[in-house]
């Protein structure tokens, strides 16, 4: 046993984890995307929501997302300990025990769902509960170690927040919220596989059947292109609903042309070329995909803002 692991064990056993370790269990970076997309879901809905109800609802949606992150870290502690990127997470680092992460995640899940019910409605709370279940059980416990398509189905967990936001405002589900869900759902695979192409993490040692390992990198490149092609009609289609409009259509058209071009370039390259330039294109496409999603939801917001001046929409 090394000196550092002896110290880490002691930290966990004495309960000396700092406040920051518990915040890290909530995966704050993932939470920021959840907050943004859920907020857009509320703001673009046709029913106005009181600012205090909006603030509380966003807070509890984010808390629910964080709780599922804690449950994921409890279950995946063995994987996290193997991979370099996740080795310093609170559980594998020994700052928080697995049991603490489990208890923390379950408690926060309960608080988040009940409080979202009280602040908004039962449907929104039910969708949040399902999202937590989907991420912790369906993705983390079941699919992640079973199939290389894990990221495709698991991406649904990250796609629910705007639908929950819409449900907070309207109390229902409609084509608009389904399309916002579908946009994130279809965006996740090409976004993540572009990352997997250049991150080269040790998924094999961790026992995670990642597409780059099970089907090879050439197949992964083809998957990026196919899923990007499937994403385009979803993104463009949203322009013709009540949350879209001509401004959204133009922005979405440009972004989709850019993403398609990037995916096509990834598909055309092979490993020799990619390694020679340090995965330049893959990194560019990954960065572009982040802007892609942010700007699409920004365009929804812009349309909603224009409508308040009788300018947006069709």
């Amino acid at each position: 046993m090394s000196d550092s692991s002896a110290f880490e064990q002691t930290a966990a056993q004495t309960g000396d984890a700092g406040f920051g370790d518990y915040v890290a269990l909530l995966k704050p970076r993932v939470m920021s995307l959840v907050v943004f997309t859920a907020l857009v879901g509320i703001l673009v809905a046709p029913v106005p929501v009181h600012p205090m109800v909006m603030l509380a609802s966003i807070l509890f949606i984010a808390l629910g997302a964080g709780a599922s992150g804690s449950l994921n870290m409890w279950w995946d502690a063995d994987i996290d300990a193997v991979m370099k990127r996740t080795r310093k997470r609170p559980v594998p680092a020994g700052m928080v025990t697995g049991g603490e992460a489990l208890g923390f995640g379950l408690s926060l899940s309960g608080i988040a769902v009940v409080m979202l019910w009280l602040s908004s409605n039962l449907l929104a709370a039910g969708l949040l509960a399902f999202t937590i279940f989907f991420y912790a059980v369906v993705y983390s416990m079941w699919l992640k170690r079973l199939t290389p398509q894990n990221i495709v189905i698991g991406g649904a967990a990250g796609a629910f927040p705007p639908m929950i936001g819409w449900a907070v405002a309207t109390g229902g589900v409609s084509i608009e919220s389904v399309l916002m869900f579908a946009l994130i759902f279809m965006w996740t695979p090409p976004h993540f596989w572009a990352l997997a192409l250049f991150m080269k993490e040790d998924y094999h040692a961790a026992g995670v059947p990642m597409l780059t390992v099970t089907h090879g990198r050439k197949s992964t490149r083809t998957h990026v292109l196919i899923y990007t092609i499937l994403l385009v009609p979803v993104a463009i289609g949203a322009a013709f609903t009540s949350i879209g409009g001509p401004v959204y259509l133009v922005i979405s058209g440009l972004l989709n042309a850019g993403f398609l071009y990037g995916a096509w370039r990834i598909w055309q390259r092979d490993e020799t070329v990619a390694e020679a330039d340090g995965y330049k294109v893959e990194k560019q496409v990954f960065r572009f995909s982040l802007y892609y999603l942010f700007l699409h939801f920004g365009a929804f917001l812009l349309e909603a803002a224009l409508k308040s001046f009788d300018l947006g929409g069709w």
């Binding site: 984890a17 406040f19 109800v53």
Partner: protein
């Protein structure tokens, strides 16, 4: 008389305790704010003690 010095565990857990305190304070503030908004949204509320309830007085007997 002097107080004994704090146990060192209070120093070690200081940031955690402060963080937890602020989080609980923020939670109370959010619940209070929500309560005010929800109660206000229900409109005026009639009290039921020691006052005449206009809604319960039979019509025509007000004079």
């Amino acid at each position: 008389m002097s107080f004994p010095p704090d146990h060192e565990i209070y120093k070690r857990r200081f940031s955690r305790n402060i963080g937890l305190g602020l989080t609980l304070g923020a939670f109370v503030a959010v619940v209070f704010g929500l309560t005010v908004v929800k109660v206000t949204a229900t409109g005026p509320i009639e009290g039921y003690d020691h006052v005449v309830q206009p809604g319960l007085v039979p019509q025509g007997s007000a004079e």
